[in-house]
């Protein structure tokens, strides 16, 4: 305790030098928390949006279905198993039939995925109700990105072409009944949604689906899995359950790849701040040799003096945390609540929406504080350990180190 008091007193006494170091370190501190908060927010936002619009509580995939290989779609459809059918009837699942097709906006051919979904479903946040609340023969729902790419607007008529179960080409005119706003590109770009029953009818795949999205909470808990497994629906029956962890893994990898680039910047910034601390400590040990000798003469051991100097260095991180809280705290709170817009957020490759809401969690702030404190203490200790080799008599004479 006495050493802590002395360290604080010494730092206060060092005045501007202490604050300059603390300010430099606080920049690194704030940048790390800001960057990490941004990435976490990005991750959370993307996961939340993908979960809401696409994955919900997980998906049963037809065993031939591979979302990265359109050629698998030809065979990736089968009748929806009864247990999943009953879940869908109870509003706990949404069967989706996916078949490759084309549309012809303004006479241009545009390859798309035709996706049939029950207009009454509530499992995902896609506004499918628009497909039911209409008198159109073939209502179509598209996302804003597809609308922009094709030049289609609500009320536009467009020819839709597909191959049925027998491989024969067929086509009909459909009408765009709604353009949905979603940050999830994978339910928007190059996709046209239409009523499931109609797509099944048109494709000659009555009662069939490519995948079945189950409601959140279902499929996650042991009970639901047991219920489903007892009906022998999953593995072995031509359908494989993909839980949200699996479905979100690509997204997480994408965020992680962005994290690496940012981390390099933080490491450089952090190293610069650490260099300042190291430099200050080195200079401090050199300049304060007589003081070190005096402290030993007054009754401190060399180990205590090393702890004192290390603590002085490490305390810079606490001062930096206080400074950072003062100038960046209000900004973080504001950004947490109101988010901010980054130009070109659409090009990030995953669902982000119009605004990014960073996630400055208590865990992130506490974790960063501890990390910075430990690293600073280590960096402060490196020059301070020279004191162990310093003879008190040399130190008193201003020699050594």
């Amino acid at each position: 305790m006495i050493i802590l008091r002395l360290a604080i007193r010494n730092l206060r006494g060092a005045g501007l030098r202490t604050w300059l170091n603390a300010i430099a370190l606080s920049f690194a501190f704030v940048a790390i928390i800001f960057g990490q908060g941004m990435l976490r927010g990005m991750n959370k936002q993307a996961e939340d949006a993908s979960t809401a619009f696409e994955y919900a509580g997980g998906q049963y995939w037809h065993e031939d279905y591979d979302p990265y290989d359109p050629l698998t779609l030809e065979n990736a459809h089968a009748p929806v198993p009864p247990v999943l059918e009953s879940l869908a009837a109870a509003g706990k699942a949404a069967p989706i039939l996916v078949i490759p097709g084309s549309i012809y906006p303004q006479g241009r051919l545009k390859p798309v995925l035709l996706k049939g979904i029950d207009p009454a479903q509530k499992v995902v946040a896609i506004p499918t109700a628009a497909l039911g609340d209409t008198t159109e023969d073939l209502p179509l729902l598209i996302g804003s990105r597809t609308a922009t790419a094709t030049g289609l607007a609500v009320g536009d008529q467009v020819t839709v072409q597909w191959r049925d179960a027998d491989g024969a080409f067929d086509a009909r005119d459909g009408r765009v009944v709604q353009i949905m706003e979603t940050s999830v590109g994978t339910v928007d770009i190059g996709q046209v949604w239409l009523p499931l029953a109609q797509l099944q009818e048109l494709a000659g795949m009555r009662g069939e689906a490519t995948l079945v999205t189950v409601a959140r909470g279902l499929g996650r808990t042991g009970h639901d899995r047991i219920v489903l497994n007892s009906d022998r629906v999953p593995n072995g029956a031509g359908w494989q359950f993909r839980d949200p962890e699996f479905l979100l893994s690509d997204l997480r990898q994408m965020v992680a790849s962005k994290t690496i680039g940012q981390s390099i910047m933080f490491v450089v910034l952090f190293l610069l701040a650490m260099l300042a601390i190291f430099d200050t400590q080195l200079l401090s040990v050199f300049r304060r040799r007589r003081e070190i000798g005096m402290l030993i003469a007054l009754g401190m051991t060399r180990a205590q003096v090393i702890v004192l100097f290390t603590l002085e260095g490490a305390l810079h991180s606490i001062f930096a945390a206080i400074l950072g809280t003062l100038y960046a705290g209000p900004l973080f709170i504001y950004l947490n609540r109101n988010g901010f817009t980054i130009p070109g957020m659409d090009s990030f490759g995953f669902a982000l929406g119009d605004r990014l809401y960073p996630a400055f969690t208590a865990g992130l702030i506490f974790g960063t504080t501890v990390l910075v404190f430990v690293v600073t203490a280590f960096v402060a200790w490196l020059p301070a350990r020279r004191i162990a080799k310093l003879k008190p008599t040399d130190a008193l004479a201003g020699r050594g180190t």
Binding site: I2, R5, L6, R9, N10, R12, G13, A14, R290, E291, G293, M294, I296, A297, L298, G299, M300, T301, R302, A303, Q304, K391, P392, T393, L396
Partner: protein, 235 residues
């Protein structure tokens, strides 16, 4: 401590390596000091005064021979035990004052008491008393940079005696002071020696100091050349 002996050295030798050569700073020095002495090691530069003072102060260890300080053998003291002995029983005064620059005079004097874990009220009383002894009660809140050389050395004396040590070691305490300040400081130390019974051991070649000594030990080339008990101001 037999018969009030606070320091005894027997055939004390201290060698230093300087490059490839070996320098013998102390050559079989045998001395005894009793409680309450006001003694000085006198001699030219390089005679071994400071080396002997450092060993007695447990800041250094002998190459051979023995040094017993306040009942503890210096050559076999652990660093922790030596630190404890210094913090409780030995006060130091240096030529360059060595005040802690970021502390006020009060805080500098308080420092040894903090190391002893004394309560705040006890510290306050002792620090106030010590600053009064040296006549600096009104400069308690001044930092070392705001004090003159004489005042700084008086703060250093207050810091050395605040814990009422049994032994005060003063290495060239007046070397950086003018005649007037030197006399003031020496008078302060004489009265502390008289009032508190503290043993003072000086290392000096300053005639102003020598005049105050009651025992003068002359060192030449690391050996005791003369050891005389005398009346102060007898030169």
């Amino acid at each position: 401590m037999e018969n009030g002996v606070v320091i005894s050295t027997d055939k004390l030798v201290r060698k230093f390596k300087v490059g490839r050569t070996e320098l013998v700073a102390l050559k079989e020095v045998s001395l005894e000091f009793r409680r309450g002495e006001f003694a000085g090691l006198v001699g030219p530069s390089g005679s071994g005064k400071t080396t002997l003072l450092n060993i007695i102060g447990t800041l250094d260890a002998p190459s051979s021979g023995t040094a017993v300080v306040l009942g503890e053998r210096v050559e076999s003291l652990s660093p922790v035990r030596a630190a404890s002995l210094r913090s409780r029983h030995i006060g130091f005064i240096f030529q360059t004052f060595n005040l802690l620059p970021v502390y006020t005079a009060y805080e500098n004097v308080e420092f040894p008491l903090l190391l002893l874990g004394m309560s705040q009220s006890e510290r306050r009383k002792k620090v106030t008393d010590a600053l009064e002894w040296v006549g600096l009660a009104d400069r308690a809140n001044s930092r070392p940079t705001q004090l003159s050389g004489g005042e700084s050395q008086r703060v250093a004396i207050a810091r050395a005696v605040v814990k009422r040590p049994e032994l005060v070691l003063a290495d060239e305490p007046t070397a950086n002071l003018d005649a007037e300040n030197s006399h003031k400081i020496l008078q302060t130390m004489v009265s502390l020696n008289h009032d508190l019974g503290t043993t003072f051991l000086f290392s000096t070649h300053d005639e102003k100091v020598i005049r105050y000594l009651r025992r003068k030990i002359s060192l030449i080339d690391g050996r005791v050349a003369n050891d005389e008990v005398r009346s102060p101001n007898s030169d």
